[in-house]
Symmetry: C2
């Protein structure tokens, strides 16, 4: 044993025989040439790794103790090395655990019940006395020290998300949205004349001549070296009949593939919405725009935290490649599911549009994200060139053209631009306020003449973070609540018609609105109800309202709504409302001048608008002006997939938007403070709520 | 042992345990997925190869007997497996042997003297009785069957070629040829403003803004995914000071690299002439056009045959990759030599121009060549896009822009276009006949108004092939000869001032001219001199003139000039002259209308013009109209390296040239037949020769 040459605090048994230095496991695995090239290329350990046929992981494994962790209820067995946590084991086995805080031990979501074996657990205040007594541990805080059997408790199991943008009626509505379909990759079949001594131009010139006859402009056409290498064979294999794939770029075209014969199968396209939480894929017949399959799944990056900030932190620690692999694995899984469901060949997919927020798109493309979370919040790239699917890592035709939705800022990304393309308000006269609520609330204000945009960090409360019994809108989430003002007894409606196991965003809004109406809480969010009331309880110092009694739940515990939960939600809704106000102020408008308000995003689909207004999340305007438009990011990518017009428009929108940064905006801070009240400190803003409390 | 699944005639001991099939060594080594993917990806042999840490060569070696061959005079020891030939051993050890026919056993050049050990030799008529008695063998026809010691005889050692385009006075003459230098890759140092909350555009937009301020047009600018990935770090590493490398393409620009700080070292450029026989590299300071180093070497492909046809045959057998590796290894060796000689960093080389004939350029780029040698003789690519050095395999800055000289036809390539750029006659009024003689004679006729071109296959005689004592213009080659008409005793001038060991092209022309003048031969090329003359001898049935007596040579054998040698040379010169005639006829010109005749290429530098006319190689026009311009291919690439004007001109020239194919041209056959006489059957064409024989 010796001390690692790069990390003197680490003892290790790996000795480089050539350089006589010790290296810890991290260093052995590290591929960063800046740190390790001084020995990697020549030393025996590296040699052993490269030439001995063993991956370094195997070598490390041989030297380290291996333990087995059995995860119930699915009885999945995972082997893991000594020193790993239960969360590492779950990640290694692709077992979905809720780990909102990316293993920092601060969210308390990754609960497991230890059934046998020993682990080294850090003490945590995030587990209740009851839980501790019943062998609950936090997966991220428990180091495996023997073979173990653990159970994922009901409340921690990740269930199928209700993902916006899915469903037959949604996809059917899309069809026909785009009339003039224009492909990024065009497959052109040519029957060329055979060369003779009198017509002995080169193969490439013959191909270009054929393309010109077919109406293609070859003056700005390039060709890849790889295609040139295969050209001669491709052109002769089926007697001078070839199919040429040509990608249209912004200012040129490129011959990306030449295959013998009539290889022109009808093209398929892929519209992908990469959400921080969930990913949606539409497989589209490019001939008529039919969505032939739609698939969705959790973004596997969720294992690295719930929100973009945690993802960026994780990327800084482990590299963008890791996060990229996770999201690409998710997308490729969805592609497989889609092509299997309709039994089509992968190679037919040669047009792709990717939409998502700036961080998601950067991570997917392995572009540095660290500056996105640091003032002054700079993305590396706003407008992307057309890429090739093979270079991106998508398992479709490797020469498929990939259009990546441009986004004007670090916190207003391609998903919002995509949303605009779908909603189309930037083409019209009416003054529109657009919001997409998630962890961030991205707001756009404007019409065909101008567009202003901003992002206010709503925080994770609406998606279940920072709220004791908060969860995403999965099966078992309480999504609608009515409280009897006399008895304080709530009527609950639960996603998936199952017993409740937590509260999702729309449920929280209902809850606060109803508690306010029933007089359980005051306008400042503090409890007014007597602590002795049967629906009230105390947890430590903190008062709580009992949303569901243990026996009514699937988790055998009371589902509580704490004062601190209310506080977090008020901060979230306050941030969003302050965002609206500042944008209005900056443009000299007031809410009465808004002709319509568009709400998009997954969160919006369960939202009770009246209740959202009553807590001060949405402005108090004519309810008929509200319009919910679902997952506008996938819808807009679908439109851009089918038409050059919308791809060009996306770039125009991104350039047109004026971005206002709120992070150091004093007006925003003032408005935020004023909004930390239910619905607001200034009741003039909420005329319809006046006198109701 | 069993029969190879792909080659039933081969016994092999390699059994694939998984698929239960036998595979021969070739199949084991073959990487062609079309043939072998059915088991390569999964079978244990492949597995063993990939994972067991052993290269398949090692495995084969273990199973096969290994022999050692010692090559004298350099005492280089080569290990080789049973079944290999001595030529394979020489190739494996990078020992230069002359193997003009690519191991077919037809040229008789790869002679070795066997000193010890046994080999299985095919009987060959290409060795004289004397040679057989003295243990001469042909390397390509001798299979190694034990450890062996062989000696490379003096006459077979490959000596340093006298390569045209080299030498201080040549390169000094180039300087100043190009006034307006314009780079393909421009390195621009920018000091960007630091981003703030009020100026939070993306890194890429900031970079483009900086470029725009610097006068760059960014509207048609693309950027590689790899560069986007590294952008954030590069821009911040030296406080927003960056150096951007931008490649100009025909219709767009591309950001190929961004590095922190002032990374703008002055650019270096590389002009490369890839001849079938030899390769010349100029390393050029792009600031002022100074040639800072010039290096040259044999093209390593020479091991696969002397002429382009043999190279193509070899590529069809072993794949274009093999030939590509050979030429790229030669070029990379020359690059190393050049940068070492002036101690500069490889990365500074970011502009490259490659010139060569169509086959050489195709092979280098791994583009299929098989159709070049098959009627109707079609190249795959005539005009190449700008490539990246890293993709081509050149060891310079991997993002260096590579311009490849376009060529109009399979047998009139980029080297001729390059030659025109240098000579410039296509810009001028005078009617010009241009010839570059080598294995092919490429001819261009025209002026600023029109250009016609053709290629006549002169055959390898002028480069030493098909001539018993023929050799290239290396040390020891007889290059000039005067024969005393009384005594028939020749005065010889030898390359490198050493004892003679063979005759190079210019020597052969002198020889025929002098023998004709002295009456040793008749105008039909047959011997007139008496066989009993002391300078005459007989070898088998054939008469021969003794050019040098054994004691005057370095090879201790008489250097003879055979009747069949004369015949071959007459055929070569006849093809070239017929080429001139047909081009003239096609355009309705006669030789008197030619204002100048430009001769380029290595062969021309030793040429005695009068003698070349006297044997009918060159037309009988005013000798003042002849102009020898050296290696015009390297000179033209040098000019194109320095100026966009010449790069554009190259494409124009290539498009402008009208190519005439001679291969099935009846007129050419008639003219060729008429030219098989010294100087010609029609003496009207050679007025100055009339009455001299």
């Amino acid at each position: 044993m010796g001390k690692c040459v790069n990390h003197p605090d680490r003892e290790t048994s790996f000795l480089c025989m050539k350089h006589n230095i010790y290296l810890c496991e991290d260093c052995l695995k590290c591929r960063d040439p800046k740190i390790h090239c001084k020995f990697r290329s020549s030393c025996p350990i590296w040699f052993m790794e490269k030439r001995g046929g063993k991956d370094i992981d195997e070598i490390v494994k041989e030297e380290k103790k291996e333990y087995t962790v059995l995860f119930k209820p699915d009885n999945k067995e995972i082997s893991i090395s000594e020193g790993a946590t239960l969360l590492d084991a779950a990640l290694a086995g692709d077992i979905p655990l809720n780990a909102s805080c990316n293993g920092k031990g601060s969210c308390g979501k990754c609960k497991l019940v230890l059934e046998s074996g020993t682990g080294k657990c850090e003490d945590t205040p995030l587990l209740t006395q009851y839980e501790k007594e019943h062998n609950y541990v936090l997966a991220c805080q428990t180091i495996v020290q023997s073979d173990m059997i653990v159970k994922i408790p009901e409340e921690t199991i990740e269930k199928k998300l209700k993902i916006a943008g899915m469903g037959k009626e949604v996809t059917a509505r899309m069809q026909g949205l785009v009339k003039d379909i224009s492909l990024m990759v065009e497959n052109i079949t040519l029957e060329l004349s055979q060369p003779t001594l009198d017509d002995s131009i080169s193969d490439l010139d013959r191909l270009k001549r054929g393309l010109t006859k077919n109406g293609c402009d070859v003056s700005r056409m390039s060709i890849d070296l790889k295609v040139m290498r295969e050209l001669a064979a491709a052109m002769r294999d089926d007697n001078w009949k070839v199919t040429v794939s040509v990608t249209r770029k912004s200012c040129s075209t490129e011959i990306v593939r030449v295959v013998p014969g009539n290889g022109r199968e009808s093209s398929l396209g892929l519209a992908v919405d990469i959400g921080t939480t969930s990913i949606v894929v539409y497989l589209v017949d490019m001939a008529d725009g039919t969505i032939v399959a739609a698939t969705s799944a959790h973004n596997r990056q969720a294992a690295c935290g719930d929100d973009v900030i945690n993802r960026i932190v994780c990327a800084e620690k482990d590299g963008v490649k890791k996060l990229s692999r996770m999201v690409i694995a998710t997308i490729n899984g969805l592609i497989n599911e889609a092509i299997d469901s309709v039994d089509v060949k992968r190679d037919r997919i040669d047009n792709v549009v990717l939409s998502g927020n700036t961080t998601m798109l950067h991570l997917l493309l392995q572009i540095e994200t660290r500056n996105i979370r640091r003032e002054p919040y700079i993305p590396s790239v706003s407008a992307f060139p057309i890429l090739k699917a093979g270079n991106v890592g998508l398992k479709v035709n490797p020469v498929a053209a990939v259009f990546v939705m441009p986004g004007p800022a670090s916190y207003v990304g391609g998903d919002i631009v995509s949303g605009l393309i779908y909603t189309g308000f930037h083409r019209e006269e009416p003054m529109t306020l657009f919001i997409d609520v998630g962890t961030n609330g991205e707001i756009v204000l404007g019409n065909k003449d101008w567009l202003m945009t901003a992002s206010c960090s709503a925080g994770p409360a609406f998606e279940g973070g920072g709220v004791r019994w908060g969860m995403r809108a999965e099966d078992g989430a309480i999504e609608k609540i009515i409280i009897d003002p006399e008895t304080f007894i709530p009527s609950l409606s639960v996603v998936g018609d199952s017993l409740p196991r937590g509260i999702c965003g729309s449920g929280m809004i209902d809850l606060i609105s109803e508690m306010l109406k029933a007089g359980i809480i005051q306008q400042n969010g503090k409890f007014k109800a007597d602590a002795s009331h049967p629906r009230m309880t105390q947890d430590g110092d903190e008062k709580a309202y009992i949303v569901a009694l243990a026996e009514e739940t699937s988790v055998d515990k009371d589902i509580l709504f704490m004062e601190s939960d209310i506080d977090n939600i008020i901060r979230s809704k306050g941030a969003v409302y302050a965002g609206f106000k500042v944008l209005m102020n900056q443009t000299g408008l007031d809410f009465s001048m808004i002709d319509r308000m568009i709400i998009t995003g997954g969160f919006g689909q369960y939202l009770d608008l009246d209740k959202a207004v009553s807590i001060g999340l949405l402005p108090d305007i004519d309810r008929n002006k509200f319009k919910y438009l679902g997952n506008s990011s996938i819808a807009g990518s679908y439109m851009a997939l089918l038409s050059e017009k919308y791809r060009t428009e996306a770039l125009e929108i991104s350039n047109r938007m004026t971005y206002i940064d709120f992070s150091s905006n004093n007006q925003f801070m003032d408005e935020f403070t004023s909004a930390l009240f239910l619905p607001h400190t200034n009741m003039e803003d909420f005329p319809s709520m006046k006198g109701k409390f």
